[in-house]
């Protein structure tokens, strides 16, 4: 990222906006949980809000938005392996033999 003083001032303003957004999204996700939506919808909404919050933290606080190519290559491999990890329980459940 650009390390000049003016750049840093601009970043600080962005940090404040991200902070307010994260707080608002936290309240939204708690408020939605009180609606007691059917589980698939509740999971989808909760994960969508969590992914949005996570992206904000990763992009702005962790400076991923202006990171170098090598870091993205490391993260791309991590994402692939993470998805395999998440697929394992899903495939296990899909393969389950139904006992009458």
């Amino acid at each position: 990222m650009g390390d000049h003083s003016a750049d840093i001032d601009k970043h600080v303003r962005i940090y404040v906006v991200v902070f307010v957004s994260l707080m608002a999204l936290t309240l939204i996700t708690v408020a939605i949980s009180y609606l007691r939506l059917p589980l698939p919808y509740a999971v989808a909404v909760a994960l969508a809000v969590a992914c949005t919050k996570g992206s904000l933290v990763a992009c702005y606080f962790m400076h991923l938005i202006s990171e170098k190519r090598l870091i993205f290559l490391v993260l791309a491999l991590t994402v692939v392996l993470f998805l395999v990890l998440m697929l394992l329980p899903i495939m296990t459940v899909a393969n389950r033999v139904q006992v009458p």
Partner: protein, 196 residues
């Protein structure tokens, strides 16, 4: 012999040693928590019944802790920005606030845990509590680890600022990357355990 690329980035990658090192470490951390999240999914879909998190856990307390960790992420990134602007006093304030907020998170967690134990709710009680204590316990260990490193750079480690501020800024950025990761994990733990 002097170790190269400690302060300045390599020309080909644009990264210094610390930056690539911390990201590789965080990648391994993603897999550590990922394995536990996969375990949670497997346990949940395999269980005949699963309690709603809010029926056992304290949602207002966890919401407060989420706000605490998000605030600590902001103070952490402000500590780094203060070093970049060469404002040492502001750095000390923001880094001190980050450590304190980490402490607040742990105190709230202590009250949460002690209430559970008081009501005879232990990891052995049921599968939900087993995975709850495992995930939040591991996360708490990360908070403690981050606090120890941040406290070091608030205190004795801050001497480096006066000798080599650029190197110090790199170190604070790397501490920040770990601390934000801890925040990131909680952002997913909170809805998964408390709200679903």
């Amino acid at each position: 012999m002097e170790i190269p690329y400690v302060v300045h980035a390599r020309e080909d990658t644009g990264l210094n040693n610390g930056k690539i090192g911390i990201w590789l470490f965080l990648a391994s951390e993603v897999m550590l928590f990922g394995a536990l999240f996969a375990t949670y999914i497997l346990l949940r879909v395999g269980a005949p019944t699963w309690p709603h998190g809010s029926s056992i856990l304290n949602v207002p307390m966890a919401t407060f802790n989420t706000a605490v960790l998000i605030s600590s992420s902001v103070t952490m990134v402000m500590a780094w920005a203060s070093v970049m602007r060469r404002r040492f006093t502001a750095y000390r304030l923001y880094m001190g606030a980050t450590v304190l907020l980490g402490g607040v998170f742990l105190v709230v967690k202590y009250f949460e845990y002690s209430t559970k134990f008081h009501h005879e709710l232990f990891p052995r009680t049921n599968t939900f509590l087993a995975i709850y204590f495992t995930l939040t316990g591991l996360h708490m260990l990360h908070v403690i680890g981050g606090m120890v490193v941040n406290a070091y750079f608030w205190g004795p480690g801050a001497k480096l600022y006066h000798q080599n501020p650029e190197w110090f800024a790199n170190r604070i950025e790397n501490c920040g990357l770990f601390w934000h990761f801890v925040d990131l994990v909680w952002i997913f733990l909170f809805p998964v355990l408390y709200l679903l």
